[in-house]
């Protein structure tokens, strides 16, 4: 039963671009959904399994994107996959430094330090010259093995592949020693330590896996969008969106992040593109030139973050285990 469901989902995901191939806008949204699902799944390995909430995962995403684009603008003939690997190395170094400082400590420090590290990365990129500073980086042209990277479809499949890899790692971890250990750490650190679990080692391991996957997604995004600046790939808001996606779907569950992304990304897109306003106008409920119509048109782009805030609060108060938490078998 489960296998059939999985095969149907996989087949749909693979075939989707064929059906909507003519519509780059929809493909774009699907790429965002896949990316957010993968980002949130990667975060979930650390936050959901090990209970170590990172509030600064944008640092690893941005590191991947920046490393790749900086290298390619320096030398266009480099293999993008090599640049991606370089991104993983830089992200891993940042993760190891963060982990070795914070994971010796108990309590609230990791969350705080993860933001501090993310801010250090963001401000450094903003202030340095080789990173393009406030202007950001523009990549003119790129190719891989003769594949046309100007079209969106390769990136759809690229994101899908990374999502599948991330979910597979999640699934493998859940049923392996490491996964059990991470969950033990989440539940009770003293009990975990007394049962022979090296807390710092396993937390660092989870952080490294999570950071590396996040960095790969950053590289892919950089190649896809080909223009990045700090507000796009290193902002605190991105870190929060990643967490929120997991929370809404169900933290610590394998499919929670996917469910969260399927809900949140289209919602954000609707708000951003003033779809709500358009619908209200078309339905004749609001006139386009009336005060409300103009207000919606001008402000809904900002409003999507406000809506995120409201969803966060409601979710924590009424649905702290997320949507999948509702359906979980009661033990």
């Amino acid at each position: 039963m489960k296998k059939i469901a999985l095969s149907v989902i996989a087949a749909t995901a693979v075939a989707l671009p064929i059906f909507i191939g003519e519509n780059p806008y929809l493909i774009g949204i699907m790429i965002s959904v896949l990316m957010m699902a993968a980002l949130s799944s990667a975060w979930n390995i650390l936050g959901g399994y090990a209970g170590q909430y990172s509030f600064g995962h944008a640092a690893y995403f941005g590191t991947g994107a920046y490393s790749t684009l900086i290298l390619l603008t320096l030398n266009n003939s480099l293999n993008p996959l090599f640049c991606m690997a370089m991104g993983i190395i830089v992200a891993s170094i940042i993760a190891l430094i963060t982990g070795s400082i914070v994971f010796r400590l108990r309590g609230h420090y990791f969350g705080l330090a993860s933001i501090a590290v993310a801010e250090i990365v963001r401000l450094s990129v903003l202030n340095l010259e080789f990173t393009g500073g406030a202007q950001g980086i523009l990549l003119s042209d790129v190719s891989l093995w003769g594949i046309d990277l100007n079209s969106k479809n390769p990136f759809y499949y690229g994101m899908l592949l990374v999502l599948v890899v991330t979910l597979s790692i999640s699934q493998y971890l859940r049923t392996s020693k490491t996964g059990y250990y991470l969950q033990a750490i989440r539940e009770d650190q003293d009990a975990a330590a007394s049962l022979g679990i090296n807390l710092a080692f396993y937390k660092n391991k989870a952080l490294l896996i999570s950071a590396a996957l996040t960095s790969i997604l950053g590289s892919l995004y950089g190649l896809y969008i080909r223009f990045i600046d700090t507000s796009a790939v290193l902002d605190l808001r991105l870190s929060i969106e990643i967490i929120l996606t997991a929370i809404i779907g169900g933290v610590g569950t394998m499919w929670g992040p996917v469910v969260g992304a399927l809900l949140l990304v289209p919602l954000a897109e609707m708000l951003r593109s003033n779809l709500l306003g358009d619908v209200l106008v078309k339905a004749g409920l609001v006139s386009e030139t009336s005060g409300i119509g103009v207000f919606l048109k001008e402000n809904l782009a900002h409003a999507h973050v406000l809506v995120y805030g409201i969803i966060t609060v409601l979710c924590i108060l009424y649905l702290p285990k997320g949507i999948l938490g509702l359906f979980r078998r009661v033990k």
Partner: protein, 242 residues
């Protein structure tokens, strides 16, 4: 020569200006059941925390199996074959009973399959097989104590430190736990256990150390301890009747 499995040598632990444990020494021999008793606040749990690596000692040494362990982390101490339970039980709440015990078993195996086999054996030993798929957080206190026992046993320890494993249990439950402890000893493990209730301790221990206000008050066989006038007055003074 007698083999000391655990040697506590002049251990002190201070918190700021407070002396929780002061210059305590004793030795535990292999396959002993060793009792650590004393009124509330005597420093028993603090001493456990020092032995198992949760607190660094202020001075003194802890030698286990001929290795100095008071500078090691808790997980390293566990890997050497010393496991502990907690006075306030610490179940991994959202994991199942079986998964809880598997976490313990992973300290001696790397594969999930073997961990599950070991865990099931231990659950059988403490008679928890009916609860394998229940979440650990939902168990009653008595069952949680059994779960703690199964979980540490899954690490196959040479020495077990039990912190008030019978606390909060009724007579039948206490008897079941004491039986399990006797069984563990027969299988070759050494046991140190903290208990409040003198009766439980004297019925099972080979040797007892009494702590009072962080200091060692007396040491001896259960008989010597129950007849020791210092111990009797400490217990009466502390408001605890034996």
């Amino acid at each position: 020569m007698i083999q000391h499995l655990l040697l506590i040598s002049h251990v002190s632990k201070h918190f700021g200006g407070n002396v929780a444990v002061s210059d305590v020494s004793f030795a535990v021999e292999e396959k002993q059941i060793f009792g650590l008793i004393g009124p509330n606040g005597a420093g028993k749990t603090t001493l456990f925390n020092c032995i198992t690596g949760f607190f660094p000692t202020t001075s003194g040494d802890v030698i286990f199996d001929n290795k100095k362990i008071n500078t090691l982390r808790p997980d390293e101490v566990c890997k050497l074959g010393m496991a502990r339970t907690w006075q306030r039980v610490k179940p991994l709440g959202s994991l199942t009973v079986l998964e809880n015990v598997m976490v313990g078993a992973f300290s001696i195996t790397n594969t999930t399959r073997e961990a599950e086999i070991i865990a099931r054996e231990q659950l059988q030993m403490v008679e928890l097989t009916d609860y394998t798929t229940k979440s650990a957080g939902s168990l009653s206190i008595g069952l949680k104590k059994k779960l703690e026992l199964a979980r540490v046993l899954a690490t196959r320890p040479k020495m077990l430190l039990l912190d008030e494993i019978c606390g909060g249990l009724n007579h039948t439950e206490t008897d079941i736990i004491l039986d399990i402890i006797r069984n563990i000893r027969i299988k070759g493990a050494t046991i140190v256990f903290i208990e409040h209730d003198m009766k439980a301790v004297t019925s099972i221990c080979d040797r007892i150390v009494v702590l009072n206000s962080g200091e060692k008050l007396a040491e001896g066989t259960p008989e010597e301890i129950t007849n020791n006038s210092d111990v009797i007055s400490a217990y009466l003074g502390g408001g605890h009747h034996a």
